[in-house]
Symmetry: C2
């Protein structure tokens, strides 16, 4: 019982996989299928109310791909699961040697567009699936959600406050990272502050207030410790009574040449209460004291508060953003789109399962902008097609080596802000945004038609 | 860029906290508040459709509490955030020295019941809040959700299949752990299999089928590698055509003295298709070939499938269970319930915030059972009250030392099954289950009444 996080190591990430990746690879190995293949990672359809994706997670994907390996401990466990020695020997020397193209973090993207394209020997490309999906799902989901929250706040600051209800330790870190990419001003997560250099913010909890005999004693004690940057939580017993006491403490601070930072509201009708508290503070000459609000917030509630004229300067947004509570996953998948045939040529493939059809061939996404530089439409085309738009996928790995300069978190954040600023307002509506136009190139359409007809003949009609 | 998981270490968990825990503690330190206090961790209200909680996460909580500490690297970061040297010196020697009582993992519990009760010097008890909430939220949420899925399946096996869309690496591991506690038969997560000894299961993906020229070639190749335990995914092109080919391969296996394990359906109308596939297999004398189903399943869909007479032997349940998609958080909180007054006596406290009232004092939960041993009602009482029921909270730490024999995962799973079997059926309804009776003892009711009246006088009326 000495350790509870030891398994969360880079070394173990080869085993952070669905068993079927390994059973499939064992069968590829057994059947001598070592040829290369291409997989697309993409989002099949957007969650309700979302009209775009803000892509994130590539950095961790690349760090994983360049380091993935199997240790003797892993092989010994797999042997007990019934895998044979020859395959285990193959895994012993396993490394990822493929080529990877990807959409950079902070890019706005849309359904069906490949976000990561992996070309590698079948076993390598297959084995990395689960990690890639897990990483891109969490980070893109949160970056997208947080960008909606930031947009709803119309320039008022959003601080990510959800650590206590995010799904475990890795999620706590990644949510802080992706919320910051999406435009949040900071996080409450101290470890994320230390690891990523994200600004950290914190006020006080009700327990602090309750641990003193009187509320005003708690306020005075906190202001003594942080005379110029206290934010006092005023709703433990009664928010208006709390605001009166905060004002008293603010006046006491003024006498010492200091200034109260703000007050925080965490319950009740935040629109009404914030107006009353603002009036009370203003009346006492405390216009500089800001009002910070938290408590079950998300993009919908923030938009509603602002539309009701709430007097709130900044928002702490927790659980609903940090779990993407209205849709806690995105429909991200990783699908084979070409294999090598017996003549050593790549040949496109697709699946026809009901509602789960995929796009065949090695593809690129081309973006078209209007004269002002705003996003106009995207075209998914074959990678070797000549299309005028700006290609979104860039080469990030060649023969298993990272060929891409990983941008800093600030650079990713700046790219996200630039991308979002070029996305027309109508696509940022919180509900009922129109679909952004994503077209297939004629060559891709043609390939799909031919393949469908061929597969229907060979796989369906012939066996009936 | 060498490491992407280095920060997920036990050593760093002291910093896996909201900044306000540290600002509050700095002020407690500055104001010489070193007295002990008691906090309750509990769930304020149940998510929609849930009528009970299946408690999980205590093991990781205890391992954290016994190891939490600050390193020089942490202190140096905190110094840059403006914390003063005296407080940082205090943190340098920080360790958790408190007493902890808790409800064992695998226990069925209800809203407002303390699940963990921490009595420790204020700074210690406060600093550990975020980690405790994060851990109990994820694990109890998933154990509860998974227990509903298992119940809906009426004895048919559930395999946890959600790794690709669970929220990051830690969640992937904890979901496998808690689903297993809740009664799932296993997981697809290989690392969880290795770490926790949970049985691992895997079939094949569409990409395996697509990587061969013909579907039947893929089936034969897989059956060659796993002649007695293949489950063939039959819906890549057309499920009935796929079932025909699987039957052909099953017959080929029979000639070699082997048996096909099963077929898997992953799309379409699973009730209708499963009936057709069952009939097709039975007609060919393949009654022993099982039908495994997956694809957007949860407790509601499984109940619907079974009510429609689906011929499914086992279910792979992924995203919706692994993210608790219909409610991806529980309203778990950590609230101060007593502090020590100037006479060195513990005195009960509570908060009155709108909709967020807490229960004061050090408490115990007593469970009453009927003659058959089924759960009848719970009573939340003061810890030193004499109440007849069975106390749920047990002592797990004393003076910072773990005094509890951590049960094995199998023992926790067995306890969960025993607990769930004693919960009357009506509380397991997937929707509209009645609330389970949880009462407050007369002494606790009385304490609340007195405190409310006192707080209203001192904190609200006097300042108006």
């Amino acid at each position: 019982m000495n350790s509870f996080l030891d398994f969360l190591s880079e070394e173990n990430m080869s085993m952070f996989t669905d068993l079927y990746e390994l059973t499939m690879c064992a069968s590829y190995f057994d059947n001598k299928k070592f040829e290369p293949a291409t997989f697309d990672l993409f989002v099949r359809r957007l969650p309700e109310n979302r009209s775009y994706l803000l892509v994130a997670g590539l950095e961790q994907v690349l760090l994983f791909l360049k380091s993935v390996k199997f240790t003797e401990k892993h092989l010994s466990y797999l042997k007990k699961q019934g895998f044979d020695n020859q395959f285990l020997n193959h895994l012993r020397n396993f490394k990822f040697t493929g080529d990877v193209w990807a959409v950079p973090e902070g890019t706005v993207a849309f359904p069906c567009e490949p976000l990561i394209r992996v070309t590698a020997p079948l076993i390598e490309a297959q084995l990395v699936e689960t990690f890639l999906l897990n990483t891109v799902n969490l980070q893109t989901m949160i970056a997208t959600k947080a960008s909606r929250v930031v947009h709803a706040a119309k320039g008022k600051a959003i601080i990510e406050f959800g650590l206590r209800r995010e799904h475990g330790i890795d999620a706590g870190m990644k949510v802080a990272r992706c919320s910051y990419i999406a435009g949040c001003q900071g996080t409450s997560n101290v470890l994320a502050g230390m690891k990523y250099g994200i600004p950290v913010f914190g006020t006080m909890a009700h327990s602090f207030v309750m641990s003193f005999d009187r509320e005003i004693d708690a306020f005075r004690a906190f202001a003594k410790t942080f005379p110029n940057k206290s934010t006092l939580l005023i709703d433990t017993y009664d928010d208006i009574a709390g605001a009166e006491k905060a004002a008293t403490v603010a006046k006491e601070l003024e006498k010492k040449g200091c200034k109260l930072g703000g007050v925080r509201l965490d319950s009740g009708d935040l629109a009404e209460i914030s107006k009353k508290v603002r009036a009370l503070l203003d009346e006492k000459g405390l216009r500089y004291v800001t009002i910070f609000a938290s408590g079950d917030l998300d993009e919908y509630r923030i938009a509603e508060l602002l539309s009701k004229g709430a007097k709130i300067d900044a928002f702490g947004v927790g659980t609903r953003m940090g779990t993407s509570a209205d849709k806690p996953y995105i429909d991200v998948i990783y699908k084979l789109c070409e294999t090598m045939n017996e003549k050593a040529n790549f040949s496109p493939i697709m699946k026809l399962s009901e509602g789960k059809v995929t796009l065949p061939g090695r593809k690129q996404v081309f973006r078209f902008k209007d004269k002002k530089g705003n996003l106009a439409k995207d075209v998914i085309a074959l990678a070797d097609e000549k299309v005028k738009g700006e290609p979104l996928l860039v080469k990030v790995m060649e023969n298993g080596k990272v060929t891409y300069n990983l941008p800093s978190l600030s650079e990713i954040r700046a790219a996200a802000q630039e991308n979002l600023s070029k996305l027309p307002e109508k696509y940022k509506k919180l509900t009922e945004a129109p679909p952004y136009p994503v077209e297939l190139s004629p060559a891709l359409e043609d390939m799909i038609k031919k393949l469908k007809s061929k597969l229907t003949k060979t796989e369906i009609l012939n066996s009936k």
